[in-house]
């Protein structure tokens, strides 16, 4: 099977998985006990006629199959329903929240990759010695630390000189973009540190292992024989090859990153998708949960697909 066929097959798999996600998403929320509409209108004064009208409006009438069909059609058109709690379209809320989450996640991921790689490089170079042991242990320790707990610890330590919640200071007007940016950075500092620290463990380990592999390859022996300095060996020959698994790991990790984001955003009250999911869970806002779940899973699916294709396509060692 050649490259093109492989790519097509892989995309086909992803489409199938997407359909499975949609179906799981639909049936998951139908497992509720009781009438979902009663959950929506918790005020007992609602007259029955109004409830019936709401039932039609929220698409909760008709047989299960009928609802499923409607759901698939609507979702593919980007219509994700109305939030029970915020009384506005789910898609609107999600877009806003996603942007906020990306603002937090992107720097956090970059930082964790950077720090993780540093640790991994040190561990690989000093392999077998004390520094290796320390770096590895540190990575494993951070990996075992729950993101929410680390967040709580940071909150305790930094109370007083850093804002502890939100993305911006409420009620303040900023005259310049610079001032706004600084305010944002102040709010972002703690959540970003938390997220980076819990994620860097695996980058460190992967970087270490793949670098160790690379350092024993033939072309590295040749580079050493050529008399290149250690640093040049590292940066121009070893790293580029070792970096590949790290990058694909970053993409595959999106799922875990979302989990970390939910915890961090909840603890630090960051107005992103994670906190939205948490609040929606508390208030049983099912349309939002359904929409968020779909978006999150689709992003993870896409990241997986891209990482897989990228890895397989550019790594010359893999056969099809």
């Amino acid at each position: 099977m050649n490259k093109k066929n492989y790519v097509l097959k892989r995309i086909g798999h992803s489409v199938l998985t997407l359909w499975l996600i949609l179906t799981l998403n639909f049936f998951l929320f139908r497992m509720l006990p009781g009438d979902p509409l009663r959950l929506l209108f918790t005020d007992p004064r609602v007259p029955l006629e109004v409830l019936e009208k709401m039932r039609v409006q929220y698409g909760l009438d008709g047989s299960l199959l009928h609802q499923y069909g409607k759901y698939l059609l609507n979702t593919l058109q980007g219509e994700l329903g109305m939030s029970f709690v915020y009384n506005m379209p789910v898609s609107e809320i999600l877009v806003e929240r996603l942007i906020n989450t990306v603002i937090l996640l992107l720097p956090a991921t970059l930082l964790s990759i950077l720090l993780g790689c540093l640790l991994g490089i040190v561990a690989a170079i000093k392999r077998g010695r004390a520094s290796d042991f320390i770096c590895l242990s540190l990575s494993q320790l951070l990996w075992a630390t729950p993101a929410f707990w680390l967040g709580l610890i940071f909150m305790m330590l930094s109370s007083g000189f850093l804002p502890l919640s939100g993305m911006t200071s409420a009620g303040m007007t900023f005259d310049s973009l610079w001032a706004k940016g600084v305010d944002l950075m102040k709010h972002m500092a703690m959540p970003m540190c938390t997220l980076s620290l819990v994620m860097l463990g695996q980058y460190a380990i992967v970087m270490r292992n793949s670098l160790i592999d690379v350092l024993t390859e033939d072309y590295m022996v040749i580079a050493r024989a050529k008399g290149l300095s250690h640093v040049r060996q590292l940066f121009s020959h070893a790293l580029p090859n070792a970096v590949l698994p790290v990058m694909t790991l970053a993409a595959l990790n999106l799922g875990l990153l979302i989990g970390g984001a939910i915890q961090t955003e909840t603890v630090f009250t960051w107005p992103g998708v994670g906190r939205l999911v948490f609040d929606a869970l508390l208030r049983r806002d099912y349309p939002v949960l359904q929409g968020a779940f779909l978006v999150i899973s689709s992003c993870a699916l896409l990241a997986n697909l891209l990482a897989d294709l990228f890895y397989k396509l550019i790594d010359p060692r893999i056969e099809y």
């Binding site: 798999h13 199938l16 998985t17 499975l20 996600i21 799981l24 998951l28 929320f29 497992m31 509720l32 006990p33 242990s137 494993q140 320790l141 990996w143 075992a144 630390t145 729950p146 993101a147 929410f148 707990w149 709580l152 610890i153 909150m155 305790m156 109370s159 292992n209 160790i212 592999d213 999106l254 799922g255 875990l256 979302i258 989990g259 939910i262 915890q263 909840t266 603890v267 999911v277 948490f278 869970l281 508390l282 049983r284 949960l289 968020a292 779940f293 999150i296 899973s297 993870a300 699916l301 997986n304």
Partner: protein, 287 residues
């Protein structure tokens, strides 16, 4: 099959590296603490004290201080060990069972069955774990049984993949071919030839799955979907957060449960990696 185990246990133990040994020792201590919790705990987890005993810092009466209703935190943490270990082992049992069945079936039968099962596995690998667990527990209602059930049902994918690969490689070996040609049935082959060679791998993986389960349960409990009638470390942290422990400065409320989670997950992980190094034929080559 038991014969296989009896033969190999001691050599395996000898090969486990230092970190793995440390992990096993810590785990043994945890299990002892969990079992003996009702005996050694200084207080009663259900007993609530008066207003004067709320949020006391660590002292002679309460080594880890008290919480917002006056309960001794050391007691809570000790009882939490039971729940966390219970959750870890139960979830792992469920997920190993499902993962093994699926992995074995996919690897052994191959073809369409493999394709189908792999699509299913892909689904659970791709979907972000925490949101899925949270939403399912929210829908089913927060209770210990539900949490265990949901976590177990959603994390088998990694196990399935590992077992599938191993099964496929074993299947290719000569003695399986010979058994087939002699007319042995599928079940017989799986039981006598494949399982014994897959089991060690499963064992190493189980330990890692336990670590993941404990981690997940603590997060779910912290976010408010834990079972309020059972104390786990995550629940303790949830109550700490909800009763404003941070503003109060109650470091004794926040630090111990988290340290326990880290310690437990870390030791399971270290054991898991150590066992994996010993038992996984592919990894042995790297050293």
């Amino acid at each position: 099959m038991t014969g296989v185990f009896r033969l190999k246990v001691f050599p395996i133990l000898k090969q486990i590296n230092k970190k793995g040994m440390a992990g096993m020792i810590i785990l043994a201590v945890l299990v002892i603490l969990a079992v003996l919790a009702p005996v050694i705990a200084p207080g009663d987890p259900r007993e609530m004290a008066g207003v004067d005993e709320i949020m006391l810092p660590p002292g002679w009466d309460h080594w880890l201080g008290t919480d917002e209703v006056g309960r001794d935190i050391l007691t809570l943490v000790l009882y939490g060990t039971r729940i966390s270990l219970l959750v870890g082992f139960s979830c792992a049992a469920i997920s190993i069972f499902i993962g093994s069945v699926i992995g074995l079936a996919a690897g052994y039968f191959g073809g369409r069955v493999d394709d189908l099962l792999m699509r299913l596995t892909d689904l659970f690998v791709v979907i972000p774990r925490l949101p899925l667990v949270l939403i399912t527990v929210a829908v089913l209602g927060p209770s210990l049984v539900n949490t265990i059930f949901v976590i177990g049902m959603l994390i088998w994918a990694g196990t399935a993949r590992i077992i599938r690969v191993q099964t496929m490689s074993i299947k290719k070996r000569l003695f399986v071919e010979r058994a087939r040609s002699l007319g042995a049935g599928h079940l017989h082959i799986i039981r006598r030839h494949i399982l014994p060679n897959v089991m060690p791998l499963v064992f190493a993986n189980t330990v890692l799955v336990i670590a993941t389960s404990i981690y997940l349960e603590s997060t779910v409990s912290f976010l408010g979907l834990g079972d309020p009638t059972h104390i786990s470390w995550g629940m303790i942290l949830h109550y700490a957060f909800v009763s404003v422990a941070l503003t109060y400065g109650a470091y004794w409320y926040v630090i111990p449960p988290g340290v326990m989670i880290v310690l437990t997950v870390l030791s399971f992980t270290m054991c898991g990696y150590a066992l994996d190094e010993v038992l996984n034929p592919r990894l042995r080559r790297r050293k």
